[in-house]
């Protein structure tokens, strides 16, 4: 079962969670996070670019770290790339465990690392044709420091 996917297509949250827990009775908790494109003034779309040779490798490192910290029974990461419009899904992370605290913390941790380490970049396409690259946020850097 591939637990990391980078794709242009949308994802289905139920199917992802079902794939995590199918045929298992030891999973008591699945925490998930879905990130979406927010409409913001004249934002037409986000263009998501990534570094394919590095992306999966980097996310695998985060998942290995999460598995070392929490007794997880499965993890799913789906990240979309390409042109995404307001309301579209961007990213999905789920973590399964026997207990809810472990699942919540692991999903939170994985999102922090995705935001600050995984090689994705967002370009904002504005009405009229211009646009700009999204700048990294110091709040994301602060958030990831919680896990050190």
């Amino acid at each position: 079962m591939s637990d990391i996917r980078i794709q242009k297509e949308d994802f289905d949250v139920s199917a992802e969670i079902a794939a995590l827990s199918e045929g298992r009775i030891d999973i008591g908790a699945v925490a998930s996070f879905t990130g979406k494109v927010r409409g913001d003034g004249d934002l037409m779309a986000l263009h998501l670019e990534h570094y394919p040779a590095m992306t999966v490798r980097e996310i695998e490192t985060h998942i290995a770290e999460a598995n070392a910290r929490w007794p997880l029974m499965g993890v799913r990461v789906v990240h979309r790339v390409g042109r995404l419009q307001p309301g579209d899904n961007i990213v999905f992370v789920a973590a399964a465990s026997a207990h809810r605290k472990d699942a919540f913390e692991a999903a939170d941790f994985l999102m922090d690392y995705l935001k600050t380490r995984a090689p994705f970049w967002k370009f904002e396409e504005r009405a009229g044709g211009d646009g700009d690259w999204v700048a990294a946020r110091t709040s994301d850097d602060d958030s990831v420091k919680r896990w050190r």
């Binding site: 998501l48 590095m54 990213v91 995705l114 935001k115 970049w121 967002k122 690259w133 990294a136 994301d140």
Partner: protein
């Protein structure tokens, strides 16, 4: 060696990547940046503010003091903004 540029680094330089022969007297990413920045206004613009730049050597986040050889893949990009 293989060089890759992402996001506004790619836009400023004008290409997504290139093959490059690492000069024999260059042994780390900082030295590579100096050589690249001297190749023209587009490179100079991309490498003007190293504080706004990040790099990866062989698909791993690295510091600018990372040792490199002509067999490596080096990527330059702004801080990541995924998720």
């Amino acid at each position: 060696m293989k060089l890759l540029y992402f996001a506004w680094v790619r836009q400023k330089i004008g290409i997504a990547g290139e093959e490059f022969a690492l000069p024999q007297d260059v042994s780390d990413v900082s030295g590579l940046v100096e050589v690249l920045a001297a190749r023209g206004a587009n490179y100079a613009g991309a490498f003007r503010d190293l504080g706004a730049l990040r790099c990866a050597v062989n698909q791993t986040h690295s510091g600018f003091d990372m040792k490199i050889t002509d067999n490596d893949e080096v990527a330059f990009f702004p801080p990541v903004t995924g998720g």
